[in-house]
């Protein structure tokens, strides 16, 4: 049928249209990867500008105002527009394959989630071109944010609101996918650890993002509609923002880090040729981290003045998280122990991750001690700490995942030599940049200052830090070269280039759009490995060859998100001129109209017929 036409011989326009309307989780994954990678580079350039400003005392590379915009947008971009979507890229690419599903539970919503994220991300960055981006720090504490002049913070609020809605949709989608769409035999305790971490991270998204949604609404009402939530002159209270932000913000750390742990668990197990040590304990630790992650947010607010009782409770809860995290570290080490270890690029990242993240965890326990935190708070010590956690735990995982799952997503293997070069440049650069910042912080250098004085012992440390940052930039460039080189060479590989263990490697690379011709029967943890040890080449099917039901493509998600994007401008500029309300109504009209169309127009999908599947197999 017409549906069987492969995408490789289409013109540019047709391909573009295909991607604009796709509901296929594998294509959405690629879009997340590209968009997230793009924002990662933007955020990286902002970081380099920050470091270049700090390369010498009293530098004047950028103005103080522009510096504020740089640090704000660097943090916001990296967390919301780079790390989150890149995590979603791998969740989309891998989770349905790992559980033996043909697609996610809600393919339409999957596409909607992506477009909302992308338009939200663009919205955030529009501020650069309209007189200044957000400049109140990525945490946007009131009253700094509520009194910030211009529209920068408005773009921050609206942009995060739109992309946050996308994330929430994505989270619910993956929860339902993992609950309802598992292949026969794939019990919860047979799910690969990446799927488990994706599951827990999605649950955290579900419970954490609404707090951000409300916080952003309150901020929007304060800034744009004259409300007084955070304005003491009207009886408001700026600490409410801090609570709402961190009730979201702390789980957000685990939303990012847990899937990172999942990626490393897959890689370490695959390249040690051993089943993951202490699988059950790993699952338990993942769930426990997710649970505890909700009870520690106020450790970001020790110096607010909550009082010793509250500070102690949150300090103890925070330190408790070290226990399940420690369980994980030891399980990775025990998985390595006695394995036949193969060192390639993904494995290098995994091996580099363990000590790096452990360092971040150690300083985490240090800053969790509430009384000591009064000394560390808002210094470069904290900056060093959270970069060790987020870069060491998340960015390393994203690099590792890129090299590990590239063959599954694109059918080619990234060059290992260049990959290793990326790793060493980035790894050395990272430690040069941030290790020294612990000491800069202890010497009293506050974060977010745009200059520092000469002869205060800060010159050399900052110089070293800047050199390291540029090494990281170099490492990223090598990765880009690697991607171009690999794509040009275009040497296709088999479905299972790593001799791996989980279900995604049981099908061709890249997989056909329906993933599994017949749903596989899962007979244990690491299902593909179970079959391999019994001498079979692939999975045993759990069903006869039948027609496959697939969802229809749709352009609505794109238009729906575009509507909100347009409405965002109306929300912002009506504060100057009420005639902008028209734009607001047009935008909301487009979005609500699309929702109505979606609601009343039946979308029953189509079937891939088994005759066509057979024909394809013969070709």
């Amino acid at each position: 049928m017409s549906t069987m036409v492969a995408t490789n011989k289409k013109g540019l326009g047709a391909t573009l249209w295909d991607y604009l309307t796709t509901v296929d989780h594998k294509k959405i994954a690629i879009m997340y990867l590209i968009a997230g990678g793009f924002f990662f580079i933007i955020g990286g350039l902002e970081a380099l500008a920050i470091r270049w400003q700090l390369v010498q005392p009293m530098n004047d590379f950028v103005s103080s105002g522009f510096y504020n915009e740089l640090i704000t947008m660097h943090g916001t971009t990296m967390i919301f527009l780079a790390a989150m979507p890149l995590i979603f890229a791998f969740m989309n690419a891998v989770v349905p394959l790992q559980i033996g599903a043909r697609d996610v539970a809600f393919p339409f919503l999957n596409s909607l989630g992506f477009w909302l994220f992308l338009f939200g991300g663009i919205m955030l960055n529009v501020g650069w071109f309209t007189g200044g981006a957000a400049d109140a720090g990525w945490t946007a504490y009131a009253p700094l944010s509520t009194t910030s002049i211009g529209e920068g913070v408005d773009y921050y609020v609206l942009g995060l609101q739109i992309s946050g809605a996308g994330t929430l949709i994505g989270g619910i989608n993956f929860l339902v996918t993992i609950v309802n769409m598992r292949a026969p035999g794939m019990t919860y305790m047979r799910m690969p650890l990446f799927t488990w971490t994706a599951f827990v991270a999605s649950a955290l998204i579900l419970f954490a993002f609404p707090a951000l949604t409300v916080g952003l609404f309150l901020m929007m009402f304060d800034r744009l509609f004259g409300a007084g939530f955070f304005d003491p002159a009207m009886g408001g209270n700026s600490v409410i923002w801090q609570h709402l932000f961190w009730i979201f913000g702390h789980p957000e750390v685990y939303i990012l880090a847990l899937p990172g742990f999942g990626i490393f668990s897959e890689i370490i197990s695959t390249f040690s040729k051993k089943r993951l040590f202490g699988y059950t304990a790993m699952v338990f630790a993942t769930v426990l981290i997710g649970f505890l992650g909700f009870m520690v947010w106020a450790h970001h607010m020790f110096t607010v003045g909550m009082g010793p009782a509250a500070n102690s409770i949150f300090a103890v809860a925070t330190m408790a998280i070290a226990v399940p995290t420690g369980i994980k570290i030891f399980n990775w080490l025990f998985t390595l122990w006695g394995g036949s270890i193969q060192i390639n690029t993904p494995m290098l990242w995994a091996l580099g991750f363990i000590p790096t993240f452990t360092l971040g965890g150690m300083t985490g326990v240090m800053v969790a001690a509430a009384s000591a935190d009064f000394q560390y708070h808002d210094t470069y010590f904290v900056v060093a700490h959270f970069h060790y956690v987020i870069v060491g735990g998340v960015v390393f995982a994203l690099f590792a995942g890129t090299h590990y799952w590239w063959p599954k997503m694109f059918g080619t293997v990234l060059d290992d030599k260049l990959g290793k070069l990326t790793f060493w440049l980035f790894f050395i650069g990272f430690h040069l940049t941030f290790f020294i910042q612990h000491f800069l912080g202890l010497m009293g250098m506050p974060r977010r200052y745009w200059v520092y004085m000469e002869n205060q012992g800060l010159d050399l440390g900052n110089m070293i830090s800047t050199i390291g940052a540029f090494l990281m930039g170099l490492g990223t460039i090598v990765l880009l070269i690697n991607i171009i080189k690999t794509s040009v060479k275009n040497e296709k590989v088999s479905g299972d280039p790593w001799d791996a263990r989980t279900l995604e490697w049981a099908i061709p690379s890249p997989p056909p759009f329906y993933n599994f011709k017949q749903l596989p029967l899962v007979r244990g943890l690491d299902p593909l490995w179970v079959e391999k040890t019994e001498g079979r080449k692939g999975m045993t099917p759990a069903e006869p060859l039948t027609d496959i039901h697939m969802p229809n493509n749709s352009f609505l998600p794109f238009v729906m998100s575009l509507g909100l994007f347009i409405a965002g401008f109306g929300f912002i500029y009506q504060k100057h001129d009420l005639s902008w309300l028209i734009v607001l109504f047009i935008g909301m009209g487009i979005t609500l109209g699309c929702m109505l169309v979606r609601s009343v127009k039946d979308d029953l999908g189509y079937h891939v017929h088994k005759e066509d599947l057979k024909k394809e197999a013969e070709e």
Partner: protein, 107 residues
């Protein structure tokens, strides 16, 4: 209506009867909710002591919500295990949030 569907199987009749019984429960539940609401409003009108009224009001509200969730929204039925997990996850987070914003914001 039931007579018209003469070809219905026994299973269907059984399920239907079960639903009918349940519907009676729902109506009883509803009456109780109305009573609770009236009690709640009456307590305010009677101007009883704050320290007594507030906890009772909250308990009445909690019971009403329990009725809504378990009977009207059918969470007492089979197949609602994961919905319950996620719903109570939300309730737990909600509790922490409200606690923090009432107890830790005082200046």
């Amino acid at each position: 209506m039931a007579e018209k569907v003469s070809g219905a199987t026994e299973q269907f009749d059984f399920e239907k009867q079960k639903r009918k019984d349940e519907m009676k429960q729902q109506v009883i539940t509803f009456v109780l909710m109305i009573v609770f609401t009236i009690v709640a409003f009456a307590m305010i009108e009677a101007e009883l002591d704050r320290l007594f009224v507030i906890p009772v009001l909250l308990v009445l509200a909690a019971i009403q919500v329990g009725f809504q969730v378990y009977y009207f929204m059918h969470m007492s039925h089979k197949g609602h295990e994961l919905p319950a997990v996620m719903f109570y996850g939300g309730v737990f987070t909600a509790f922490l949030t409200i606690l923090a914003l009432t107890v830790l914001v005082w200046w």
